[in-house]
């Protein structure tokens, strides 16, 4: 059962990701992206990363995806033909992407990655939280400044001039 659900999540992620980049309807892409992000969250679960899965759902799906859909809505009238979108240079792009895929796969399969045994923790929230406030305090704080800047910038750019 776990095996099945694992492969199901994998399949869902990959297929919906393909739809994201191939679909002619922007809104389909967005929906497919939703499924992909769900899938990734599922993968996190299989990787014992419960906190990450939560964050993925909250921030990615609840935040970024919604933002994207807002963007689509703001820049397209639903009735407009614009909503359908086409791809360019699919041939070359596809070839390159496949090349990239092959290269990476070859490397992945040959490489002895750093591995160590571990037991499944009950939860990761505490660990992550501790790290954030100790070892990774500075990045954590830096990100806040980044967010502040991004806020100012986004507000500035999307604000209507008087």
């Amino acid at each position: 059962m776990t095996e099945f659900s694992f492969w199901f999540v994998i399949g869902l992620t990959v297929l919906s990701a393909a739809v994201v980049v191939l679909s002619n309807q922007l809104i389909y892409s967005a929906m497919a992206l939703l499924l992909t992000l769900f899938g990734v969250a599922g993968i996190y679960v299989f990787l014992w990363a419960d906190f990450m899965a939560g964050v993925q759902l909250l921030v990615y799906i609840g935040g970024i995806l919604v933002l994207i859909i807002f963007g689509i809505m703001l820049t397209n009238r639903i009735s407009s033909v614009r909503l359908s979108q086409t791809n360019v240079q699919q041939g070359v792009g596809g070839a390159i992407a496949i090349w990239l895929m092959i290269l990476i796969s070859l490397v992945i399969s040959k490489t002895p990655w750093y591995q160590a045994d571990a037991i499944e923790p009950t939860e990761t929230v505490a660990g992550v939280g501790t790290l954030l406030l100790t070892k990774y305090l500075l990045p954590f704080e830096a990100i806040s400044l980044l967010l502040l800047g991004a806020l100012i910038g986004a507000a500035l750019l999307s604000r209507k001039e008087n």
């Binding site: 240079q89 390159i96 992407a97 090349w99 290269l103």
Partner: protein
């Protein structure tokens, strides 16, 4: 007394130069355009020369020699000494130069009266005299070479005196360049000798040669190199082409430079370097001289321009002298140089006198078409211009080798030398043949000239009344030099009109044994010449008589038709008339190809190399199609950059196209770049 000769020489050398400087800067502002400055200077020079000459005569020392030198430049090991060498030959030569120069100055007073560049003319004469004396007085190759070139320049300036005429300008340039060809040889010779011996001074060089510091082929080459200089200056085949053209200069100049002195400098040089000439070199010298003597005389036969006849005659006579040096009798060569200077200068003055009066006559008739120098326009001037006629006749007899006249003595000595040489070396029988052949032809064409000019009926009768004898300034030199063409002056203190034996000349100018091992000694050459003397004299008188007789029959008595004989000679006549097409062939096979080469090179340099460099390979096709080679600046202008520019430019264009402005393209390139880098990396 010791340094008198040197001191006098200094004056002789620099007085004309001073005159030159004064004339150049102030000539136009002086009264009479300053001609008196030049004439005065040259007369002082003449007096000093005579004084030296007299002192030499009184000294009676055949080995008389004085040298003085100073360090001209010094870099430690490399230093150049310049200096004077005064010996008997020098003194005689100085006198000849001063004498002819004085005559020329005086002659020119009238001949160039009213010329727009009168003062300039006298200035150049001064420069010439200075440089000529420089050659004569040098005790080393460097100052000789320098004077040598300066002589060339003064010749250039004087030939080009009437530069408005293209022919004069061309002749001047031709003279200079042809001389330069010889000078290159001269310079190579100098370098060969200096490299081996390490000195430029004659004394050191001869010593070096005798001790074997230089020998064999190198020495031969050095000798031939130096002789090449002589060939240029003395107008020897095949560098003879400039001398006839040089007649474009004023006639007194022709008399001074292109007959008596400058062209003789080559002979003088060969005499000076005689001790170091190897037998092989001498043979070359002899053949060049002999051939030139005959060759030039065959051209002179058919010329109608009076000065051209004399010019080729000069070439031929110079050939004689060179032949004499080559056969070892270089004292005979020097003797002929002196006598030739007198009678040939005289002949030129005579021709100048004729031309001068022809010119005036034509001027009176407002005839600007007829050539005042063409003998076919003359005839019957004998009575109108008696002084000119008689003095010229004396000189003609001298050049033709008639006994009692100076030329007979010197020519005889040369012919005896060549005959004796052929007796020693029968395989070189051609040398005397050249000599005697030339003698016969010389006698013929000289009398042809005299007959056509002065005898017979006037060819342009309308002019004859305007033909007058020339003024005193011109006839004076004629008379003087005519007198000096008589044998008597050269045989003193003995009176043997057919032999110079025991004369002041032979007792003062004595042959020296060459320092090169293998050459005959001076004594044996002397002996041989002495033995051949009588035979040579006989033949010589015979051929002279034959030549004169033929001319008499053809041009005076008209028993033989010159025309018919001309036709009978066919192509030979044609060749002679056209100087064997030397100018044409040089032009066709030498000048034009050089110019074409130059144009091509310049074009390659600019149009091809430069553009090729700029434009990459594409321009090669352009080259193939535009051999005419026009300059097209627009093309250059269009080219943006330079050098690698064009390529860079094209590359830039291609790379620029990558920057499409389309974001997806960029992203694609980046990914492709990453992949390429990964692939590169993994190899």
């Amino acid at each position: 007394m010791e340094n008198i000769f040197i001191n006098y020489s200094l004056f002789i050398l620099f007085l004309p130069l001073a005159a030159f400087v004064i004339q150049i800067f102030f000539g136009k502002r002086l009264p009479r355009q300053g001609d008196w400055v030049s004439v005065g200077a040259i007369i002082i020079t003449l007096i000093l020369s005579i004084a030296m000459f007299v002192a030499m005569l009184m000294g009676k020392d055949p080995n008389f020699k004085q040298e003085a030198s100073f360090t001209w430049l010094d870099m430690g090991a490399f230093s150049i000494q310049l200096g004077f060498l005064v010996d008997n030959i020098t003194v005689i030569m100085l006198l000849v130069v001063a004498l002819i120069s004085t005559c020329t100055h005086i002659f020119s007073l009238k001949y160039l009266e009213g010329d727009i560049r009168y003062s300039r003319y006298f200035a150049y004469l001064g420069l010439f005299t200075f440089s000529m004396n420089g050659i004569v007085l040098s005790n080393n190759l460097i100052s000789m070479y320098m004077s040598w070139e300066l002589v060339g320049v003064s010749s250039y300036l004087l030939i080009g005196h009437w530069f408005e005429k293209d022919s004069a300008a061309n002749a001047a340039k031709k003279a200079f360049l042809t001389n330069r060809v010889g000078d290159i040889g001269f310079f190579i010779g100098i370098m060969l000798i200096y490299t081996a011996i390490g000195s430029f001074v004659f004394g050191d060089i001869f010593e070096g040669v005798s001790t074997g510091m230089i020998s064999g082929t190198t020495l031969t080459l050095a000798g031939v190199g130096l002789f090449l200089g002589a060939m240029g200056k003395s107008s020897q085949f095949p560098l003879h082409i400039w001398l006839p053209d040089a007649m474009e200069g004023p006639t007194p100049v022709s008399a001074l430079m292109h007959a008596a002195t400058m062209v003789a400098a080559g002979v003088y040089l060969t005499i000076r370097i005689f001790p170091l000439l190897t037998p092989d070199a001498l043979l070359i010298v002899a053949y060049v001289g002999g051939f030139t003597a005959l060759f030039a005389s065959t051209i002179a036969i058919t010329q109608n321009d009076i000065k051209k006849v004399l010019a080729y005659s000069t070439v031929s006579q110079l050939g004689y002298m060179i032949l004499a040096v080559g056969t070892g009798v270089y004292t005979a060569a020097f003797f002929h140089l002196v006598t030739h200077a007198m009678f040939k200068a005289n002949l030129f003055y005579g021709s100048g006198s004729v031309i001068h009066s022809m010119h005036h006559a034509l001027h009176e008739k407002h005839d600007h078409e007829s050539d005042p120098q063409d003998m076919r326009n003359m005839g019957g001037f004998k009575d109108k211009m008696p002084i000119t006629y008689w003095s010229m006749l004396v000189s003609t007899l001298a050049i033709a080798g008639v006994p009692l006249f100076s030329g007979f003595l010197s020519k005889d000595a040369i012919l005896a030398g060549s005959l004796s040489f052929a007796q020693h070396h029968p395989e070189h029988f051609l040398l005397p043949v050249f000599g005697f052949g030339a003698a016969a032809i010389t006698a013929f064409y000289m009398f042809r000239m005299m007959f056509m000019t002065f005898h017979g009926k006037p060819q342009m009768p309308e002019l004859i009344n305007d033909i007058h004898e020339s003024p005193k300034e011109m006839t004076g030199p004629l008379v003087l030099l005519g007198t000096l063409s008589i044998a008597i002056w050269y045989i003193l203190p003995h009176f043997n009109p057919i032999s110079t034996h025991g004369s002041w000349f032979t007792s003062l100018v004595q042959p020296v044994t060459a320092v090169v091992p293998g050459n005959l000694t001076a004594h044996s050459i002397e002996e041989g010449a002495h033995h051949a003397h009588n035979l040579a004299m006989g033949i010589s008188i015979g051929v002279a008589a034959f030549g004169i007789g033929l001319a008499f029959l053809m041009y005076l008595k008209k028993v033989l038709s010159a025309e018919r004989w001309g036709n009978r000679a066919g192509f030979m006549y044609d060749w002679s008339l056209n100087k064997y097409y030397f100018d044409e062939n040089y032009d066709k096979y030498l000048y034009q190809p050089t110019l074409r080469l130059a144009n091509k090179i310049a074009w390659i340099d600019w149009e091809l190399y430069d553009k090729y460099f700029i434009n990459g390979f594409g321009r090669v096709t352009n080259w193939a199609s535009s051999v005419a080679g026009k300059f097209d600046y627009n093309i250059i202008d269009q080219i943006l950059v330079d050098g690698l520019g064009r390529i860079t430019d094209n590359l830039g264009n291609i790379l620029k196209k990558i920057q499409t402005g389309k974001l997806q393209n960029y992203l694609l390139y980046v990914t492709a770049g990453v992949i390429i880098l990964m692939i590169i990396q993994s190899f």
